[in-house]
């Protein structure tokens, strides 16, 4: 089959305006006759649910936490980009578009990214009107900073808690619509399946996490706003319960999964310190503005402690980023910084007890600018680091290591954010559309809110308007009963295994396989091996999983097992995709495809496409459909940071 991206014709800058005019409208009096199911209420879901309800649709919204305010969007620190050009430093919609396309290593759609840049400015207006307390100058106007190596200051921020404030803004809009009765909010309910009738999405099946009750919810359209799947690696910067199940269930019901191997590995996280570790903590990448990254030159100093590092003479240190990338130095993009950290650790020059860490040293910055200046810039981050590690970054260098942070891949969607299953949409990190092979800093918040506030409210009309009026979706259709039965069957099966390994035991094994073979650096043999290992692990899971209790209670072990079962399949698809894409691009580094200097080498002739994978049935290889990317407004170049 071929995939219809539905990108409007015409000049890039006019596509969205024209499209908004061309999409079908639903009469205001008729909107109330339709119900939209929204799964996940982070930035994308909360903004979509609130806005659709304001337009008059009935919304049924779901989250598995006890409040929409808990969604992991809340943890984003740095900020949100917008092409406001308030700083008069040469920013524009086109520049934000260009930076995002280039940063994504030319693996995203021009039209989608341009639209994202266009609506970015409206997002800031909307958030300010809601009362989001962005940082301001003494003149009372909004402050901006440069972020993630951008050459203009276009990042809006609220201290180090931008994600929190934007989510609370969207949550307030959602709360307002819950209060009017237009949104019915379901808390602590997790989606187990998408229900399709005659090939179109008609609702979902959920499990009540408190009572275990499995029930159906019908809607004329279903929006999956369920975030990314970084937790396939077990350890990531994602929240503990973040999972890929909604997207995976959609995949198994016919939705294509695009570019699953595109994973962002963030260079500045606190390193792993033990087997008991539950998650990894991100340290803002703004630290690289003043910190110098280094490891010892000599392998004999491997595993040197931070306290001893202070005494190591300058000539025995290798400031490897400054050495290899004289013009960008410590500010190279995330993927380059991460890969280099792995390389020096693989060489046996890593530091700290595990040897899987590099130093981020502020001694020179403190000497140059004084402790007070550094404290003013990074005080809260230094405190957080000390809280976690018990080391004081004012006295000894920080230790950092890369960690899984974001997944650019996700459900394939067209320009309307519709998956290839009619009536099923994917928004925010759950879709694949805007970040290509690498996401720029401060762009995730922008995309989530763009999709929810400003894209889906227009584009969903195009589908809703085609539905027969006055026809309620009917939960009594046998498809709902079948989906409920299948979900119950899955749970019964897992509870009946009665093996010896806990979900965490098995999840850690999966994480090791993914990190080793499908992490920062990938090769053909490793990926082939990983596929076999994952298949074996699935067998082990089905034979040896240990659960306790029943479905009809609060059972967090069962919740973990259900998410893990999906990760065990999704992980294999990531490996298959990484194997297929034998080029390097963005966060996907194939060892077979590198320049003489060891940098990522894209192969535009062969791989200038979106890899959209379709489910072909149990035990069968997935089917690949290629959506070729067309670049009419930017010239494809090889990134260089030398």
């Amino acid at each position: 089959m071929s995939l219809e991206s539905k990108i409007p014709a015409g000049p890039l800058a006019e596509k969205w305006e024209k499209h908004k005019f061309n999409v079908k409208l639903v009469n205001p009096a008729n909107k109330r006759k339709f119900t939209i199911v929204v799964v996940g209420t982070g930035l994308a879901g909360a903004s979509a649910a609130a806005t659709l309800a304001e337009l008059g649709y009935n919304v049924e919204a779901f989250c598995f936490q006890d409040s929409p305010r808990r969604a992991h969007s809340i943890a984003a620190q740095g900020g949100i980009n917008a092409a406001k050009n308030y700083q008069n430093d040469g920013d524009s919609v086109f520049r934000l578009f260009y930076d995002t396309i280039k940063g994504g290593d030319y693996r995203s759609r021009e039209a989608n990214v341009h639209r994202l840049a266009e609506v970015s400015t409206e997002i800031i207006d909307q958030c300010v009107a809601q009362g989001v307390p962005f940082a301001r100058d003494y003149g009372g106007l909004l402050d901006n900073r440069s972020f993630g190596g951008a050459q203009v200051s276009r990042t809006f921020y609220a201290r180090g808690q931008t994600g929190q404030q934007l989510l609370l803004g969207a949550y307030s809009a959602l709360s307002k619509m819950i209060n009017t009765g237009k949104v019915k909010m379901h808390l602590r309910k997790e989606m187990l399946d998408v229900v399709t009738v005659d090939g179109a999405a008609k609702g979902i099946v959920t499990r009540d996490l408190v009572t275990g009750k499995i029930e159906s919810h019908a809607g004329h359209a279903t929006l999956l706003c369920t975030g990314g799947y970084g937790n396939v690696f077990f350890l990531s910067t994602n929240a503990m319960a973040s999972n890929g199940s909604a997207a995976w269930r959609a995949y198994k019901k016919g939705a294509k999964f695009a570019n699953p191997c595109f994973t962002q590995i963030h260079p500045t996280c606190i390193p792993v310190h033990g087997d008991y570790q539950s998650k990894l903590t991100l340290m803002s990448e703004s630290l690289r503005n003043d910190g110098r990254v280094w490891v010892p030159k000599d392998k004999k100093n491997q595993k040197i402690t931070a306290a001893n590092a202070v005494k190591l003479p300058e000539e025995e240190r290798d400031y490897y980023l400054e050495r290899r990338y004289p013009s960008f130095g410590n500010l190279v993009p995330r993927d380059v910084a991460s890969r280099n950290a792995k390389m020096v650790c693989d060489e046996g020059r890593g530091v700290g007890v595990t040897g899987l860490a590099v130093f981020l040293d502020f001694a020179d910055a403190i000497k140059r600018d004084g402790k007070a200046t550094i404290a003013a810039k990074y005080g809260n981050l230094f405190d957080m680091y000390k809280q976690i590690t018990d080391d004081d970054p004012y006295e000894v260098p920080m230790m950092i290591y890369p960690a899984v942070h974001y997944t650019m891949g996700g459900l394939w969607v067209d320009y309307n954010l519709s998956t290839n299953v009619p009536g099923l949409y994917a928004l925010g990190e759950a879709n694949f559309s805007d970040h290509g092979a690498n996401r720029l800093g401060a762009s995730a918040l922008m995309q989530g809110l763009a999709d929810g506030y400003f894209v889906i409210p227009y584009t969903i009309g195009d589908y809703i308007a085609t539905l027969p009026l006055g026809k309620a979706v009917d939960k009594s259709h046998p498809a709902f009963a079948e989906a409920e039965k299948a979900a119950q069957g899955r749970i019964d099966k897992l509870l009946s295994i009665k093996g010896n390994q806990t979900p965490d035991d098995l999840h850690k094994k999966l994480g090791h396989i993914m990190w080793e073979y499908c992490g920062m650096s990938r090769n053909k043999e490793g990926l082939e091996k990983a596929r076999g290992l994952i298949q074996e692990l699935r067998v082990e899971f089905n034979r040896d999983l240990k659960l306790i209790g029943s479905n009809e209670e609060l059972n967090m072990t069962l919740e973990k097992a259900l998410r893990l079962e999906d990760f065990l399949e999704l992980g294999e698809l990531m490996v298959i995709d990484a194997h297929n894409r034998s080029e390097s691009c963005g966060g996907h580094f194939r060892e077979e495809s590198q320049t003489e200097e060891g940098e990522a080498l894209r192969k535009d002739d062969e791989f200038n496409y979106v890899a959209a994978w379709g489910y072909a049935g149990e035990g069968k290889d997935p089917e690949l459909t290629k959506e070729v990317l067309e670049f009419e407004n930017v010239k494809l170049t090889q990134r260089s940071y030398k």
């Binding site: 406001k84 003149g139 503990m240």
Partner: protein, 259 residues
């Protein structure tokens, strides 16, 4: 110090479900790395218990970076444990001594019924937000973000209040189980900002009415909430909430309610 381990004893509140009887159970966890977070220590306990065929201790948690507000826990008589200005997930085992007994309880407040073990139902907070914790605007059609200048000090004060993570420690610490600090944080944020001024009267009245109807107690200014708040939100916001309420209650209409 890295590599150091301790042995600890735990007394944990176990309760099978809402309205069911509960009791303290004792546990021992040995060889606990001092670098572990408190929740990672509980993960280890739970893995051990699960392998023994026992139901793990249920507790709420998610981001584990101190921002989602999901984790709770009353540790040795204090919400979020003995340290100041952090959530439970940011508490590390180096805070405790070898051989120490640590008592772990859920939030205790009648408006926060226990769901299981250490998990409580905080949806009362949702309903307080829904009563008026917003600016009534729709998406689109709003002025340019820089159209209204807001003094930096005002924006900073709004941000101080807006940092609330809705964890409920304030309620758990309060002898009256009052949620005034939580309610004040939202009312105060929107009362100081120009965007929130149009609805000041109805917001203060509606949110407080909801607060009281949920069964939260009144504020008697003991300051326990401020002392345990992981985001260090000041009770001066409660003073502002009281002013907002008084003004709202004594003013006849919104007509002369302009600043």
């Amino acid at each position: 110090m890295a590599g150091e381990t301790i042995n600890i004893k735990l007394k944990i509140w176990r309760q099978a479900g809402q309205g069911k009887p509960g009791k303290f159970e004792s546990y021992e966890v040995n060889d606990v790395s001092v670098d572990m977070s408190f929740l990672e220590m509980l993960d280890v306990l739970n893995e051990n218990e699960l392998k023994k065929g026992n139901d793990p201790v249920h507790f709420d948690h998610d981001c584990r970076e101190g921002i989602c507000g999901m984790c709770s826990l009353y540790i040795n008589g204090k919400p979020h444990g003995p340290k100041h200005g952090i959530t439970t997930c940011q508490l590390h085992m180096r805070t405790f001594k070898n051989g120490e007994t640590i008592v772990v309880e859920p939030w205790r407040a009648s408006a926060f019924p226990v769901l299981k073990d250490l998990m409580v139902d905080r949806t009362a907070f949702e309903r307080i937000q829904q009563a008026g914790g917003y600016v009534t605007i729709s998406t689109g059609g709003v002025p340019d973000a820089n159209e209204i200048a807001i003094p930096k000090t005002v924006a900073d004060e709004a941000m101080d209040a807006a940092q609330c993570i809705g964890c409920g420690a304030c309620v758990a610490a309060c002898k009256n189980a009052s949620a005034m600090l939580f309610t004040a944080a939202k009312v105060s944020q929107l009362a100081v900002l120009p965007q929130g001024k149009a609805e000041r009267k109805r917001r203060a009245l509606a949110m407080l009415e909801q607060h009281d109807s949920e069964g939260f107690g009144a504020c008697t200014n003991t300051g326990a909430c401020e002392a345990v708040c992981p985001k260090e939100i000041s009770i001066t916001h409660i003073a502002r909430l009281n002013r907002e309420f008084t003004r709202a209650a004594f003013s006849g209409s919104e007509t002369d309610y302009t600043n």
